[in-house]
Symmetry: C2
Subunit: 307 residues, 2 copies
């Protein structure tokens, strides 16, 4: 089983409407809701590939109930700890050709809730093959939360993938994740300097490895990815540049990387899978969905360069 | 007790943020939620004035639960019938100087739900002094719903105020409401012609009376109101033009009119109360709130003209 942690789980809501009249009253044509947050998206991709997954994290209020109900409807098991606060929603205002996003702040985590989560996590981690830690931390959860969880996983000999940014990424590295997966912007922010060429990204990725990550995979959107690992460094580009929905592509990359880790695939195979699956996610409508037919077609065409 | 009916009850959500970046990702600063819909706002105003009220209507899903919880927290009793569908939300994106509104469509009313509502309504109406029917109808509720409810109220000798537009207003008039309270735009739409002068509005109001309304009060925003009643016709303007939040001013007018009806006030007193309370609502931040100090100050300054 692969355990994904989403501490700031969300209900992702999309309002569809033909055209927004700003500063006026608008009638929403369609409303769709589903469980979201980066770790939930990773679990959804893995589940669609037939992999045994478990979602854990913190969820509360009526929004938390809606998140649990949606996961149950999708057949994705969860052990989301019930908290006193109300879980957040995200809102996409989707017009035919563009979208505006709104992210609510997460609930504060009060009293016993964090301790109950740690107890739940400790129970779950012993039965896992790998751990995925994704996304932002709710207000009041300590910045080193991911480091704490990675150390608990290491005690159970479970390797972890860390997909975070800012202080949760910086502090999380001391938990020695098997893989850290920032995007280029997040990498730049955490090492504190600009640079988007392959050598610059490799250098910055190397810095993350000195801080504790065993390997670092940097995603670059349509430019592909760069990886710094104990087995060597690679750069790869997607087999085609396609237009579509980039939300969730990074989560599909994380899903492929953790699956390659569990299956003991060599790095070139993991990276090629990640590029093909990330591209297949861009073709799908919603974060957490992948076009598996596209993945099969794209996979043989991926090109990787050993650096 | 005054019974207010809100068939398309809503959870009114406000996102506060300093500035919206359209077509980008926005972090919401504050999220506030409360029970809404025009009948809920009327009940809230009456409750704040110490009047015994009851909210009824249809509510479902986790949003319905949030609506019930908010009403309970405000001390406003409700008999909202639980439906299979999910109640709607409204969303205000509130920047410091302007707002953009989004209204979700209401849930369809399926199966037994409408019959259960009618049974609940029949139980409640016998203990009431007056009935307020406000706002839109959910999809699939028949257009003559308000006429049906007004006839049930008449059988129990309970007078009704109707605040609706379009077909629900037009069809509702055959239920012979004691008061119909359209605004000038709604009045024009239902009689099918333009005209915003006092004589034009009075003429159109007279048409609504021939269709079944005993009296008609037409609200005109900052221009005040016009009333056509069996006791005569009046026009009145608010004591001052104030800036603020006009949402809910019409609901405050409805609250004052129904209270004057219950208390047997003469029409000039009812109308003066309505103008002062409507103006006091514009001063308040949220629909359903009124500034009662402002109401007391404004009330003696209202001028009414008998036509």
């Amino acid at each position: 089983m692969i355990l994904t942690v989403t501490l700031n789980v969300a209900l992702d809501v999309t309002y569809g409407l033909p055209k927004i009249e700003w500063r006026e009253t608008n009638r929403v044509t369609t409303v769709s809701c589903r469980a979201g947050g980066k770790g939930v998206n990773v679990a959804r991709v893995l589940h669609s590939m037939g992999v045994d997954v478990m979602v854990c994290g913190l969820a509360g209020g009526v929004t938390g109930d809606a998140i649990r109900a949606d996961l149950a409807a999708a057949g994705i098991p969860n052990r989301l700890v019930r908290i006193d606060g109300e879980s957040r929603r995200t809102l996409v205002l989707a017009e035919p050709d563009h979208a505006t996003l709104f992210n609510e702040p997460g609930p504060r985590i009060w009293g016993e809730d964090w301790g109950v989560f740690l107890t739940t996590f400790a129970e779950l981690i012993v039965d896992c093959q790998a751990l995925v830690l994704s996304g932002s931390l709710p207000p009041s959860v300590p910045d080193d939360a991911y480091a704490v969880l990675l150390r608990m996983a290491a005690d159970a000999s479970v390797p972890g993938l860390l997909d975070a940014e800012g202080m949760p990424l910086r502090a999380g590295l001391s938990g020695r994740p098997a893989i850290a997966k920032p995007n280029a912007r997040e990498l730049e922010a955490v090492v504190g300097r600009a640079g988007t060429t392959v050598p610059e990204l490799l250098h910055a990725a190397g810095e993350l490895r000195t801080w504790g990550a065993e390997s670092v995979v940097v995603t670059r959107g349509a430019d592909g990815l760069v990886a710094s690992t104990p087995d060597g460094n690679w750069a790869g580009v997607a087999p085609e540049r396609i237009s579509g929905n980039p939300t969730g592509a990074g989560d599909a990359v994380a899903a492929a990387l953790v699956l390659g880790l569990v299956e003991g695939q060599p790095w070139p195979a993991r990276l090629a899978d990640a590029l093909a699956l990330g591209t297949a996610a861009v073709r799908a409508d919603s974060a957490g969905d992948v076009d598996l037919d596209a993945y099969q077609t794209l996979r043989p065409a991926v090109r990787l360069e050993k650096l």
